[in-house]
């Protein structure tokens, strides 16, 4: 199961992911034409002033998703196979219960329709638009186990070096 994974140490704060996200969620799906549509983004490059860092924050599609659990109308559902938390705007009543329980604060408010908007992981794309747009690959689309495996390997290597050096 693929996720959008964030490697915050690589984020340059360019906000290309935000632009790509907004354009992908426009009707025209074209940057120039989208200007007249004013589409909204669903992920946020947050600034952490204490560390002068930019960190992309986006829906984690939590396996035990609080937003799904609290949604009173069933507008939020979770796909059993992909784990994607979907939002049905026709059923949404804009009560913001989901927003009030979301750990990451990534449920936005549609300016015109007055319903929730959130990451749908770009169902029509092989790779989500934000991931494709990231010039430094701070966002990757992959399996969490693979990422963990790579991290374990890197840590193991470091440890092994230390062991070898102390022999």
């Amino acid at each position: 199961m693929k996720e959008i994974l964030v490697r915050p140490e690589r984020c340059m704060g360019c906000r290309s992911c935000e632009i790509a996200c907004a354009v992908e969620h426009s009707v025209s799906r074209d940057l120039f034409r989208a200007l007249s549509e004013m589409p909204q983004k669903r992920l946020y490059v947050e600034h952490v002033p204490e560390y002068s860092l930019a960190v992309p924050i986006l829906c984690r599609h939590c396996e035990d998703a609080p937003c799904v659990a609290v949604c009173p109308t069933g507008a939020l559902t979770q796909d059993a196979l992909t784990g994607v938390v979907r939002h049905n705007r026709d059923v949404c009543i804009g009560c913001w219960t989901c927003a009030s329980v979301c750990t990451y604060g990534v449920i936005g408010r549609d300016r015109r329709a007055r319903v929730a908007i959130k990451c749908d992981r770009c169902p029509e794309l092989d790779v989500p638009a934000c991931v494709s747009a990231c010039p430094t690959r701070a966002l990757i689309y992959g399996v969490v186990e693979d990422l963990s495996e790579a991290r374990r390997a890197a840590s193991a290597l470091k440890l092994a070096r230390g062991v070898a050096a102390s022999r």
């Binding site: 906000r15 940057l31 983004k41």
Partner: protein, 623 residues
């Protein structure tokens, strides 16, 4: 994201060489373009500013994030300032090119640059008369003219001299808007000043300076470059040649001249025909020395000497990949810095010659006016001696090349018309020629190579629009066979009749990018004959595959001159509704012409034809 080679170009020679590049694992501009995808949305919309170190700043085009930079600049201000800087850079490139030509002319007229002579005495005298130079002693007139031309660059007051060539009505419009350029360098400097932090912050006010600077380019710098190069190297006249990578020869030493200035390439053409050099080539097993051009240096030697042209902008890397190029000799502008590492994969010597332009991996053979002929011989000798190092097993020269007829300077066009523009005007009036379109500009991997150029030009001539061309569009047309008189068969009946009676192609190659100034002169002549302004004429401009900042300056002076212009790639301005409105609408009220953007060449042709028809109606001509 990666395109297949077949969709990267409509030119079969290019497609073939791209397959070879892939096979050999070599990277080209198309690969790098793909790696850049998706390109930055802020940059595409023109809403990032790096003009001061409080930034970089950018505006959220969708209204959620910042709507002003740190200084308070809005998207409108940022876009206008960035556009003005693009115009300044483009005008600077033409101005610096022109200055170099004038300096060579000055050195030659004072007897220091002995490699150069006056080739067009009549043009020298005519230009001197325009600059009010009456004394004509022993070489004195030429030197005085050179000094007068130089003073146009540094002039602080008054107006750039050749703006007087514009029709009276046009000059009044410029005067009313306060956009008659004072001095070429002054306007460029003022652009940089105005866009400095905290100076000019009104989009319209900024853009008017853009027009003024661009006029200093079109009716100043570029026009001076054309005039002086004609005086030094001869005014082009019709001649036949060939175009595309197929002009490279398997059994000869191939030297490519690439860039924009004819100052050194003229000398290289001469040195390559030196019997001593040819003997040396033959001693090393080659059958001769073949000089071919790329980009506008190519157009300059093509127009004046019929030197074949190997390709346009996006083919520069492919020329090296043929494995048959002994030397790629470059001067300035549009030279890809990738050429050094690419040439290192072959025996090709990548030789940089301009004191201004250094490249990684280049062999430096710096040009000087005093030693021009010697330098050229040294370069040719280096190329010839390098023939020994050619790996014949790696040579792949595509077979494709097309015949072309080139060399249509204003003088040559008048000559073809029997000495007066009247027959052309008659043809426009009676409707056999519906109008005239100037189709110019670069290549850009955002557009399938040459398809923007060729589809637009074909569509226009089919509809009886005479096309005049320069730059990389001209080379695209040459490769597609549109510069042959026989191409008249592709034109509508009216245009076809005119071309056949004059023996000229339906697409007239008027030269390099600075030679767009020749097109301005033709437009002014026709307007004056009819007693109207340029903006009243059934004419239009187009740059279907533009990429360079020079093209931004050109587009601006063409529109400022009253010519409706259609761009094929989107300029970085759409992030500002105000700037977009000024360029596409308000300019119409101010200068009688606007910009339009239309990537589809067939729709662009429609826009141009509709514009031409509206102008015909305005002049009371039948549509």
């Amino acid at each position: 994201m990666a395109n297949k080679p077949a969709t990267e170009s409509i030119d079969p020679a290019t497609t073939k060489m791209l397959l070879e590049a892939r096979r050999a694992g070599l990277e080209t501009a198309w690969d790098r373009f793909n790696k850049q995808q998706p390109q930055c949305g802020f940059g595409l919309l023109g809403i990032c500013c790096r003009n001061c170190n409080m930034g970089p700043c950018r505006i959220d085009p969708f209204g959620e994030g910042p709507d002003k930079g740190v200084c308070g600049a809005t998207a409108d201000i940022i876009v206008a300032r960035n556009l003005l800087r693009m115009i300044a850079a483009g005008a600077a490139a033409h101005a610096d090119h022109a200055r170099d030509a004038v300096i060579v002319f000055k050195e030659a007229s004072e007897g220091r640059a002995r490699s150069y002579q006056i080739r067009d005495e009549a043009k020298l005298r005519a230009l001197a008369a325009e600059y009010n130079i009456s004394s004509w002693g022993e070489g004195g007139g030429a030197a005085d003219l050179a000094n007068a031309l130089l003073s146009d660059f540094g002039r602080q007051q008054g107006s750039v001299m050749l703006t007087h060539r514009a029709p009276e009505k046009r000059q009044r419009i410029w005067e009313k808007l306060g956009i008659i350029p004072r001095g070429i360098d002054r306007e460029i400097v003022e652009c940089m000043h105005r866009t400095n932090m905290g100076v000019d912050n009104d989009p319209l006010h900024i853009l008017l300076q853009g027009l003024r600077t661009s006029i200093a380019d079109g009716w100043g710098a570029s026009m001076i470059a054309t005039e002086v190069q004609d005086i030094l190297f001869g005014t082009p006249s019709p001649k036949r040649s060939e175009a595309n990578l197929g002009v490279l020869r398997e059994d000869e030493v191939n030297i490519i001249v690439h860039g924009h200035e004819p100052i050194l390439s003229e000398m290289i053409v001469e040195a390559a025909s030196d019997p001593e050099m040819i003997r040396l080539a033959e001693k090393l097993g080659a059958k001769g020395i073949n000089v071919a051009g790329i980009c506008c240096t190519g157009n300059e030697v093509l127009m004046r000497h019929g030197i074949p042209v190997a390709g346009n902008f996006l083919q520069q890397e492919l020329a090296v990949i043929t494995g048959a190029v002994e030397a790629m000799v470059v001067d300035v502008q549009c030279v890809m810095p990738s050429l050094g590492s690419l040439a290192a994969c072959y025996h090709t010597k990548f030789i940089s010659t301009s004191p201004k332009a250094e490249f990684p991996g280049a062999l430096r053979m710096e040009f000087s006016e005093e030693r021009a002929a010697e330098m050229a011989r040294e370069i040719v000798r280096t190329a010839v001696e390098n023939y020994r190092n050619r790996d014949k097993s790696r040579v792949i020269i595509p077979r494709e090349k097309s015949e072309c007829m080139v060399g249509f300077s204003v003088e040559a066009i008048l000559n073809a018309l029997g000495g007066s523009p009247q027959p052309l005007i008659d043809a426009v009036v009676n409707g056999s020629i519906k109008g005239i379109a100037a189709v110019v500009g670069c290549n850009n991997p955002k557009v399938q190579h040459d398809s923007g150029h060729i589809n637009l030009v074909r569509e226009l001539i089919r509809n009886n629009v005479l096309v005049v061309t320069t730059g990389c569009n001209a080379i695209a047309c040459a490769k597609a066979g549109l510069l042959r008189p026989e191409a008249a068969a592709e034109a509508g009946d009216g245009l076809r009749g005119v071309c056949e009676s004059l023996g000229v192609p339906p697409v007239l190659h008027m030269g390099s990018c600075v030679d767009i100034s020749r097109i301005l002169v033709v437009a002014a002549a026709i307007a004056n004959r009819l007693g109207v302004d340029i903006s009243d004429l059934p004419v239009a401009g187009a740059a279907p595959e533009w990429m360079s900042e020079k093209a931004v300056s050109i587009g601006a002076y063409v529109v400022a001159s009253g010519v409706y212009t259609v761009l094929g790639t989107v300029p970085p301005v759409l992030g500002s509704p105000v700037v977009t409105r000024i360029l596409t609408k308000d300019l119409g009220d101010a200068v009688g012409a606007t910009f339009a953007v239309e990537p589809d060449p067939f729709k662009a042709a429609r826009l141009i034809i509709e514009h031409i028809e509206s102008r015909r109606k305005g002049l009371g001509l039948k549509v």
